[in-house]
């Protein structure tokens, strides 16, 4: 939230406490700059550990080496959903609490979420090629992720289409929340649609309880991904705040140029 727009929305908020302190973008920037190196360091460590565990994991008797893709794919799919939840929360923050940073957070999270979703789609497709013999099947899970990807891209397109951040904030929040409420319904109907046409050509695996040898690298990778998300999200929020500052400074320059 730029200083100007924050001012125009709420005239001088009373001395805030706790999390509201960081509603002040300057204070938030300070916090972000302080936290980011630690977050990035933790992320690097988690990735190192996760990758090491992944590559030393035994081969799956059924999937062979391609089980490795799972350590990349599954956390990406989890994160694609977590990121959307963060956005929905931010949407609530915009609509209900009018927290000036909520909109920044939503806007910053959308491309990251789309990237994780895209990664999940690509790795799912890469994994599917040797398993299913084709790059893509309209499997219920993959299809749901694809629909999520389209929702992400729609939100990004909307964010890009409205130039004024204040006007965009409300619309983005509403669309995100409507999407959030709809996701379970979409997921359910896609599952139903998929069982309706069970494609015979697709070999399906049962889902046995996962062996610890696979669980550990998976969870470590999930932790690494989560840290990656927060690192990227903070950086993107910082950029968004700076972008809005540039915008209001340019407007100021225009006003001052007689």
């Amino acid at each position: 939230m730029s200083d100007i727009s924050a001012k125009s929305r709420r005239p001088a908020p009373p001395k805030p406490a706790s999390i509201w302190d960081y509603a002040n973008p300057t204070r938030f920037l300070g916090l972000a700059n302080a936290v980011l190196p630690w977050l990035a360091g933790a992320m690097a460590l988690a990735f190192a550990a996760g990758l090491w565990l992944s590559f030393t994991a035994p081969e799956d008797y059924q999937q062979g080496r391609s089980v490795l893709i799972m350590f990349i794919h599954v956390p990406a799919a989890w994160l694609s959903m977590m990121c959307y939840s963060v956005m929905a929360l931010a949407g609530l923050g915009t609509l209900v609490w009018r927290h000036p940073l909520a909109d920044v957070s939503l806007r910053a999270a959308a491309p990251i979420g789309a990237a994780f979703t895209f990664l999940a789609l690509v790795t799912g497709s890469l994994w599917g090629k040797p398993m299913w013999g084709t790059w893509w099947v309209w499997d219920a899970r993959l299809t749901s992720v694809l629909v999520l990807f389209i929702i992400y891209m729609g939100i990004i397109a909307l964010a890009r289409a409205i130039e004024d951040p204040l006007t965009a904030a409300r619309s983005l929040a509403i669309v995100t929340l409507v999407g959030f409420v709809n996701i379970p319904i979409i997921k359910f109907s896609v599952d139903w649609w998929n069982t309706l046409h069970q494609p015979a050509s697709v070999s399906r695996f049962g889902r046995p309880a996962m062996d610890a040898a696979f669980l550990h690298p998976l969870l470590t990778m999930a932790l690494a991904y989560t840290l990656l998300f927060f690192t990227l999200h903070l950086m993107a929020m910082r950029n968004e705040i700076l972008r809005r500052r540039v915008r209001s400074m340019r407007m100021m320059a225009a006003r001052e140029a007689s």
């Binding site: 130039e163 340019r250 407007m251 320059a253 225009a254 006003r255 140029a257 007689s258």
Partner: protein, 218 residues
């Protein structure tokens, strides 16, 4: 060089806006078209710019050397709209017109300086005020060489200082042998201009003439 209109009549749809209109403007002269709303000031400008084909009469530019080209190609047109893209910066907007129109005369920095907006080239046009946009649009007229300026309410949205500055630019253009046709409510500060008072709108439909008369005040 002389801009001549002979017995001009222009229709818009079924409606005759004016007819029997004649004038001639010599190089270094300005023609100020005045009249109430609906009298056809903008219509006349658009007819000269070639967007409305006269139903009778003709508009021509006499005394030019070189191959004959339509009148519109010798004209700068400053309409109500500024012809600027709000998504692009001032520089991007002006440099497009500068390249597109040919016959470059001034560079963008000079032109912006002349309208009193130095150093705003990097700002998106969308951030500017109405008056600033109008001045950027005026700066466009300075970029390329066109002997005839067709200006429609050029000083709308301008403050006094900018109006004075625009009057300077107008005088300069006339001193260089240019022609200006201006449709305006406000006086442009032109000392010796022909004025063309356009009367009340013709009744509709109107077979009888006399909607416009010329009153040179030179």
């Amino acid at each position: 060089m002389q801009l001549v209109a002979e017995n001009l009549a222009v229709d818009r749809g079924e409606r005759r806006i004016f007819e029997g209109l004649s004038f001639s403007v010599a190089a270094g002269m300005a023609l100020v078209v005045t009249g109430p709303n609906g009298a056809g000031k903008s219509t006349l400008i658009k007819a000269i710019a070639g967007f409305l084909t006269p139903s009778a009469g003709a508009i021509r530019l006499d005394g030019l050397t070189g191959e004959a080209r339509p009148v519109r190609e010798h004209c700068h047109y400053l309409a109500h709209d500024n012809a600027l893209k709000s998504q692009l910066t001032v520089d991007e907007n002006l440099s497009f017109w500068w390249q597109f129109m040919g016959a470059p005369r001034a560079n963008i920095e000079e032109a912006l300086e002349r309208v009193g907006l130095p150093g705003i080239g990097e700002l998106p046009v969308g951030y500017l005020s109405a008056g600033q946009k109008r001045r950027v649009a005026i700066a466009r007229l300075l970029l390329n060489e066109r002997p005839v300026w067709l200006v429609d309410e050029p000083t709308s949205a301008l403050d006094k200082a900018s109006e004075t500055r625009f009057a300077e630019l107008v005088h300069e253009h006339l001193d260089r042998g240019g022609i200006i046709v201006a449709a305006t409510h406000q006086a442009l500060g032109l000392k010796d201009a022909q004025s063309l008072g356009m009367g009340t709108p013709l009744p509709n439909p109107s077979p009888q003439g006399g909607g416009a008369h010329e009153s040179p005040t030179t």
